[in-house]
Symmetry: C2
Subunit: 379 residues, 2 copies
């Protein structure tokens, strides 16, 4: 095992009607609340009303920033910071999925300092403090509700940057599975892919096998067992709760115990597709993962076979990769670029983007030839 | 799944030579340190010297309380509190296993308040604060290094009380597997039994099956895989590290995600044996668990069989129980009272003790007839 530090101070409130405790929880951090949310679906499905009434019942003063996009952008973050600072905010409540919560994490740094948090994300400055953040999650996918990571795009610099800082651990996150029943079939599937990809990034990370391997495989197997049932029964709260817990466990640190780090090469490759073509995050991962595994089939065959044994009771690299690929396709997710209408003529554009941003993994390094091979496979 | 809250703010530092960061970690909580340890084995094996030099190198002022017994007693806790308060302690460093750390948790409440913490443990008073606690663990077993629980005995009132309070979460715990190589064969085995028993208390707790079941079974399986190898290779650091991580995972909250609570009936029954006969905690559990399972074989057969399938690939209640029992015996642990020289003539004494303290589980309740049956089986 590698030396490691396990630390996660977020308080996770999980279950039906769990937001009944939201108002009083938020109130302990102050009275002036910045409520951050997305493009309106939280209003359409009533989650906004529930949250607002909870906050109002506790006598909190609420300022709103709405309009956070999926694949969130730094411009929204900067606007929300400006709103928060001019209103002397005590605490942020983020209502939404990964994009909203990731944005809120960066907002929490910017409100505390007044500095431009893009300078944090690009390691030009180091933040010293953050405003308390409380989340109400509406999408089971990214695991952001219980970790210190955030991903935000900058269209001006053509970068999609992942940033990790312990100051961004949410204080509290409320996970009511019923808040996810409105997620449509495709995004439900993308969420399942995302949580599986997070588990795989840990599985293929740096560090010897340990109990963590088995737990990681358990999480993937659980998602593979219940995910397809959920896709055909989207309003089933019990299935929603299983996937919701899997998504949190996949990226709350647990799968990295005994490891130096996850790999994150696949996420890097996927982020560039989202940046170029606005590909949904989960869809980018279902395309990239099988290709990445094919690239690595002769480099880490034992590791891939260990995964295949655990997930599909198969004994070869090829069967493992085709098992994973078939699972993604059965969920309705793309496993090639052509399936999202990106034609072969765009190949060079993608390769150039990979080269420009030197996309690689933390453990399994990718060179220029690897970029070309992966793009070939994805086509 | 049941509604639940997942919260664990302890920072776990895990790995070889990890105590290199101890001094600076402690220093962030203040300069006046109460160093708490046991009966001298930490001096014999050099751990004390390592810790002391770490604390000295960071310029900390150290006050010592030594002599904490296994199956720790409230008298020691009260003396340590007195020492800590008269020296205006900022932070406690506990060097030892479960007994030392559990004592230190209660000491941390008493130093902060000046009240008698036995009143907290018996729910007469409620603590408001605690002194920061940093642990250096020397025994893989109880999981106390990453939870908010403590068990302390009171000989005067003939009680062994378990107490849980979030104020007792350690700030930091340092787990260097090499600090456990001196643990002798019997206590190494008791530690393995203890971590398995913690997992089982969760498994038989209140709540529907979920991913947590599988994770719990995998922790037990991991301990069953490496434990017997470790027993025959006590200085193997790699095996020590595997068991050490299993022990932490077994009782850091993870196995209770999606549950209302664990059961803890077996621990209750075991604690009374320790109280009456000073039976080592792990040995009490290897005796009680098979008996408890036999008592429940017609009450929860599906649940027991699920465990048997996961652990031993068997399909009957009897095979599950005999599999567990055989595992404990192969480790060198007792599975009956006669094996620890408690004769049948003591039966009534044990039954009376169970009756007096109304020993039961939180989910599977035990009545007077159950007490008798269990004692009969254990004999």
């Amino acid at each position: 095992m590698e030396n490691f530090i396990a630390y996660n101070p977020t308080r996770l409130h999980f279950g039906n009607n769990i937001t009944a405790d939201l108002g009083e929880t938020v109130k302990q951090y102050g009275n002036r609340v910045l409520l951050v949310y997305g493009m309106g679906s939280v209003k359409k499905y009533g989650y906004y009303d529930i949250v607002l009434s909870q906050l109002n019942d506790s006598g909190l003063e609420i300022f709103e920033y709405s309009g956070i996009k999926s694949n969130p952008v730094i411009e929204d973050v900067l606007e929300a910071i400006s709103l928060g600072r001019s209103n002397d905010i005590d605490v942020i409540v983020a209502l939404g999925g990964g994009s909203v919560i990731d944005s809120a994490k960066i907002i929490s740094l910017g409100i505390a300092s007044g500095e431009n948090p893009w300078d944090y994300m690009t390691w030009k400055l180091t933040p010293k403090s953050s405003v308390p953040l409380v989340n109400v999650l509406t999408l089971a996918a990214t695991g952001t509700e219980m970790n210190a990571a955030a991903v935000v795009q900058n269209h001006k610099t053509k970068q999609k940057v992942g940033y990790v800082n312990p100051l961004m651990f949410p204080k509290d996150s409320f996970l009511d599975p019923s808040f996810t029943v409105s997620v449509p079939k495709d995004y439900t599937a993308y969420g399942i892919v995302d949580l599986i990809a997070h588990s795989l990034e840990a599985f293929f990370g740096k560090g010897e096998p340990s109990i963590t391997d088995q737990i990681t495989i358990d999480i993937i197997k659980d998602a593979m067992k219940w995910g397809p049932l959920l896709i055909n029964d989207l309003s089933n709260i019990d299935l929603r709760s299983k996937i919701m817990l899997d998504a949190t466990l996949a990226l709350n640190g647990l799968t990295n115990y005994g490891k130096k780090s996850g790999d994150w090469g696949v996420h890097g490759l996927g982020h560039e597709l989202s940046l170029l073509y606005d590909t949904p995050h989960g869809a980018s991962l279902s395309i990239v993962y099988p290709a990445w595994l094919k690239l690595h089939k002769d480099r880490i065959p034992e590791r891939i076979i260990k995964l295949g044994r655990g997930l599909f009771s198969v004994d070869t690299v090829d069967d493992t990769i085709s098992g994973l690929s078939a699972f993604f396709e059965d969920l309705g997710c793309p496993v090639s670029l052509s399936q999202i209408n990106i034609e072969e003529s765009r190949k060079q554009e993608i390769i150039d983007q990979y080269e420009k941003n030197k996309v690689s993994g933390m453990h399994h390094h990718l060179n220029s030839q690897d970029h070309k091979t992966i793009v070939d496979i994805m086509c």
